[in-house]
Every structure is written in C-alpha cells, then in structure tokens.
C-alpha cells in the first residue's frame, strides 16, 4: 500500500497542499487533472525526484519520504518514456538489474521472460530511436518491471501517441497491469483517455486533491463543480431547494432524492436522461414519473458514435444517445419530451 499523508510541495509560486492518498497494492490508480494542476510535481515527489516541504510518503509500511529514488524500489515511466538512446533494448531492460548488481544469468533470464511476455523479443538487439510508441511503452515497462518494483509510476504515457494508437496502448497497459499485478499510478490530463482503465481516480485541481473515488462515483457523484466539469458532465445548474424539490432558473422544478435547503449545484449526466416518444410519454407521465419535461431541440450533432442533442426545456439540457433510430424519429419534430431520472440528479451544497 502507498500512503501519502499531509504532503506539501512548493515549486516557486506554485504550492500543492494537504495531499492525502491511500493506494492499495495492485491497484490501477489514476491521478487526473488539467495541465498545470501539479500532477507531475506530485508524481516526481512520490518517485523521489523532488523533496516535499512537509508530510510523509509510505510505501508498504516504510517511510520513504527522505529516501532517494534509487532507494525506493519504484518504477518510473516519464512522458516520452526516456529510453536510453545509447543503449539497445536489451541493455535498457537490464539497466536496473545491473544497478542492483544482479548476476548475469539472472539478468538474462529476467530479460528473456519479460521480452517474451511483452512481445518484444525481436527488438532486444535494436537501439531505441526507431521504435514505435507502443514498442517504446513495452520496452520502458519491461525495464521498470524487471526490478520487481512495489509501484510503477506512469507520467502521461499516452500524451505523445496519436489518437488511433491511444486506445490500443490503453488496453495494453491495462492488460499488462492485470498480468503483473503491480500497483500502477498513472498520471493523465484526459478523463476519457483513462476512465476505462482506472480502479480509482484522484482528481487534482490547482495543487489540491478534489476527490478520490471510483470512476463511477466521480462521474455520477462529483464533489465540486470542477470535478463535474472535468469529467465532462454537460448539465450543471445552480438552483434553490427546499426539501426534495429544486427550482432551477425560476421555472424548472426538479424532484430529487436529496432533502436539503438553500442554494445548491446540481449535476445530471448527459447519458442517463431519456428522450420519451409521444406514445410512451403520456403513459409514463400518468404513471407518476417525476421530472418529465417538454422541450425543443436546439442542437443535434454526431461525434464519434455518440449523438449529442441539446433540448431547451427552459434550461438547455444536453443528452447523449447511441440510439440512432430514435434520433431519426425525433429529429424532424419541433417538440420532444424528456425524463430526468430522480436518482441521476446529483446535488452539491454550495
């Protein structure tokens, strides 16, 4: 387990404070946040490249805060993988083992096992310059995994990879993680890129950890407007509440399962809102469905495999759907009905 306690790191005028994390052994943990929020500074501190001002870093019940990187038994893959250009792939993988003065025979067996496992046996005698992004990633991982580290840190490993290969590399990373069962801490600035890989995510903003949770909880139960925006929640509104009814824009009443009073922020994920077809709508309304609204389609756009529809119900509501037949049926209509499920409305007290 990796435990980070009250870490404070300063870098000229930028300060990271109150960083508290607990990462389980074998977990695929993702540190996520916008550019400049301090993700890389944090990971470099965990690796041992930077010294924190205060706080503690524990790796497997050992306080490593004052240890040098070479003493921490960690693996580190920076953005460009930083494979040593003057060494062959084999020498790159062997580097950590040689630093630990392992026997030649042992080094050879580790290299051949890892190379076979990661499908890079044919690259061993090559230099690293001509390798593809995927090959570089596998070589860097082989080098890091060779020393059997407690944790592997990956700093935006997909940032220099083109969109077509990103998904392949994501899958590869996840597959390698599940095979080796080593703790992975992966830094990324893109929620979409890593949401399918993570066991848990820590969202970082402006030097502080905003939320640590599972992907689902971060998406559907964000603790702040920033987390909601960062996880691409499209429907974020301010409202006033008294009991379990929220008044938005003075004319939209939303029923929620929360009971609270005062000004609140509500978030509704765009993929859970339903578009009702005429025949169903009247039936569902009669049967006592809450949060059914009549609205006008003001925008309809297709991106990748998802259709984004913006419906004005007094407030603009964005809906994502992959039901193309439904889209075909409703796109010519001027008025449609939507239903916002009660359980999908998340309330944040402000």
């Amino acid at each position: 387990m990796i435990r980070v306690k009250n870490l404070r790191i300063s870098l000229s005028s930028f300060v990271m404070r109150n960083i508290n994390l607990e990462i389980n052994t074998g977990e695929y943990f993702i540190l996520i946040g916008p550019t400049g929020c301090g993700k890389t500074v944090l990971i470099e501190t965990l690796v041992g490249i930077r010294k924190p001002d205060s706080g503690e870093i524990w790796i497997n019940n050992q306080n490593v805060t004052s240890q040098f990187p070479e003493e921490r038994n960690v693996g580190y893959l920076p953005q460009d993988f930083a494979l040593f250009p003057h060494m062959t792939v084999e020498e790159n993988i062997a580097f950590g083992l040689k630093a630990r003065r392992k026997e030649k025979k042992y080094i050879q067996s580790v290299i051949s096992n890892l190379a076979e496992s990661l499908g890079i046996s044919n690259l061993l005698l090559r230099y690293t310059q001509g390798l593809s992004g995927g090959e570089k990633q596998r070589v860097a991982l082989a080098g890091a995994l060779a020393t059997e580290p407690e944790v592997v840190f990956l700093d935006e490993p997909l940032s220099s990879v083109d969109e077509n290969n990103r998904e392949i590399l994501c899958n590869e990373l996840k597959e390698i993680h599940s095979r080796f069962k080593t703790t992975f801490i992966h830094v990324s600035h893109s929620f979409e890129e890593v949401s399918e890989m993570a066991d848990r995510i820590a969202v970082i903003n402006n030097g502080t950890v905003e939320q640590v949770d599972t992907v689902e909880n971060i998406m559907y139960h964000p603790v702040s407007k920033f987390v909601a925006q960062f996880t691409r929640t499209k429907n974020i509104f301010e409202g006033t509440t008294n009991g379990n009814e929220i008044l938005v824009n003075e004319n939209i009443r939303l029923t929620t399962k929360y009971k609270t009073t005062g000004t609140v922020l509500i978030t509704i994920r765009q993929e859970v809102i339903k578009i009702l077809e005429e025949s169903k709508e009247s039936k569902e309304s009669k049967e006592g469905y809450d949060n059914v609204f009549k609205g006008k389609i003001i925008k309809l756009a297709k991106r990748n495999n998802i259709v984004s529809i913006v419906i004005d119900i007094g407030i603009p509501i964005t809906i994502y759907t992959m039901d193309y037949e439904l889209v075909e049926r409703i796109k010519s209509k001027s008025i449609v009905y939507i239903r916002i499920p009660i359980e999908s409305i998340h309330v944040i007290n402000v």
Partner: protein
C-alpha cells in the same frame, strides 16, 4: 525579383565575400615566406622543442580542464548552486577579456604575499616558470571548456537521469552510465575546444610565464631537460619572438604551423558535432 529571392542572393553575396576575405588573409601571407624558410625552421632544434612544449602543455592543460571542468559543468547544469549567475558572468568575462589581462591578473595573484609565502615554503616559484604556462592556458581552456560542457549537459534531458535513478542506479552511476554517454558529442567538442584554446594561447602566457629560449640552461629542471622542452617557448610565443627579432619569414612559418594545427582541430570539432548541425539544415 521577389523579396525572398533578393534576400537569398544577399546572403550568398555576404558569405562569398567572407570566404574570399579569409582566403585572402591566409594567401597574402604566403608571399612573406618560402619553402626555404619553412625547411630552415624545421631544421632548428628549438622549433621542435617548441612543438613538444606546446603539445605537452596543451594536453596537460586539457586533462586538468577535463578533471576539473566536467564535474563543475555538470554541477552548474544540474544543481541550484548559490551565486550561479555570478559564476556564469565570471566565466563569460574570462572569455571576452584580453588574454594579456588574464596573464596580468595571474601574475599579481601569484605574487600576493600569502601565496608567495606558500611558494617559498614549498621551494617553488610559479611566476615566469614553465609550469606557469599550464596555469595561464588552463584559465582560458577551462572557461571555453565549461561553456561547451555545460551546454552539453543542459541538452541531456534530466528525465533520463530520473528514470535511471528510479531503476536503482546511484547518482554517480547514473552520471557515468547515462548522462556522460548522452552528452558525449558535446563533451568531445568541449575537449577539442579547450585543447585548441590552450594551444593558441599567447597573451596570458607571455605575461605570466615570459619567454624561455634565451634563458641559461641551468635554469631548467631535469624534467624539462628529460622531456626536451628546455629553452623553448610555446609556438605562439615563439612566433612573436621571431617577428620581434626581425625574422618575419620564420615567424610566418610558425604561424602556418599554428594555422594547420588549428584547422585540424576545428575540422575535428566539426566532425564531432556534425550530427547536431545536420539536423539544423533546411
């Protein structure tokens, strides 16, 4: 004619003018010497002693510069040393100052009372001695070397070092196995630059070490005699002495020897850093 085309023609014209000027500079000197003078120079024992002395002092200077300058350059490149800016300014000053000023500073520094007392206690005298040539050459060779070596270390992405250390490699092992090989081209270029600068040094050596050719043979150590560098001056000083003595042809002949040595060094420098310059061609 378009503006772009005109600009390219102007650049070509300036370059050709510059090349012609350099050629004229060297070729015009050929008229002032002849094969006879060069052969005569080669037949003089003091000339070969001068060549030996120049090669020996420049090489020793370069070795000391490597031992001192490479670690210092690495530290300047990687660590937040207090007063780093002042150190930078000082090194830059050494490069741009007249070399004779450096020689004068060295002379005054080594005549400074406490330093003089140390020399007396050790039974040595640095000013105007043969080893002082190395000290004078070293100041300039170091300034040039450190500039090149620091740039070479600056060019090495620190991430390589971070990865190496995360893999269990100590800071020293990382330096030898990762940083130094990655900076190889710049390091070699710096070595050639330091050696060439030491070889070409004149003003600082003249003031700090003076001349040796006209001194009595008893003034030289056994080592100098053994190495065959007694009563000899480094080539730039030798050239100056010939010209001062009215032997212009011989002076120019020594000048040609220096030009050939420098051209070979610069050629080596270009060869070493060739990979880098290839990338900049459009």
């Amino acid at each position: 004619m378009s503006g772009s085309r005109r600009f390219v023609y102007v650049l070509y014209a300036i370059t050709i003018l510059f090349i012609l000027s350099v050629c004229w500079l060297f070729l015009s000197n050929i008229g002032y010497t002849d094969t006879q003078s060069i052969l005569e120079l080669f037949s003089r024992p003091w000339f070969w002693k001068s060549v030996r002395l120049s090669l020996l002092t420049s090489s020793v200077t370069t070795i000391i510069a490597i031992v001192v300058g490479i670690p210092a350059s690495y530290a300047l490149s990687r660590f937040n040393i207090p007063g780093k800016t002042i150190i930078d300014i000082l090194f830059a000053s050494v490069i741009v100052l007249p070399a004779s000023t450096i020689g004068l500073c060295l002379m005054v520094a080594f005549q400074y009372e406490p330093i003089l007392k140390i020399q007396q206690a050790l039974g040595i005298r640095i000013v105007h001695s043969m080893p002082s040539i190395i000290i004078a050459q070293l100041v300039l060779a170091l300034a040039f070397g450190i500039k090149a070596w620091r740039a070479a270390f600056d060019d090495v992405n620190p991430r390589y070092e971070h990865v190496a250390r995360s893999l269990g490699s100590s800071r020293m092992r990382t330096f030898w196995k990762v940083t130094l090989p990655s900076a190889k081209v710049g390091i070699l270029a710096g070595i050639v630059l330091a050696w060439t600068r030491a070889m070409a040094e004149f003003g600082a050596v003249l003031l700090f070490s003076s001349t040796f050719r006209n001194r009595h043979e008893t003034q030289f150590s056994h080592i100098a005699n053994f190495l065959g560098i007694d009563r000899a001056d480094i080539l730039p000083v030798g050239m100056w002495m010939e010209i001062e003595g009215g032997n212009i042809e011989q002076g120019i002949a020594i000048g040609f020897v220096l030009v050939i040595i420098t051209l070979l060094s610069v050629y080596a420098l270009n060869k070493i850093s060739g990979k880098g310059s290839q990338a900049n061609k459009v």
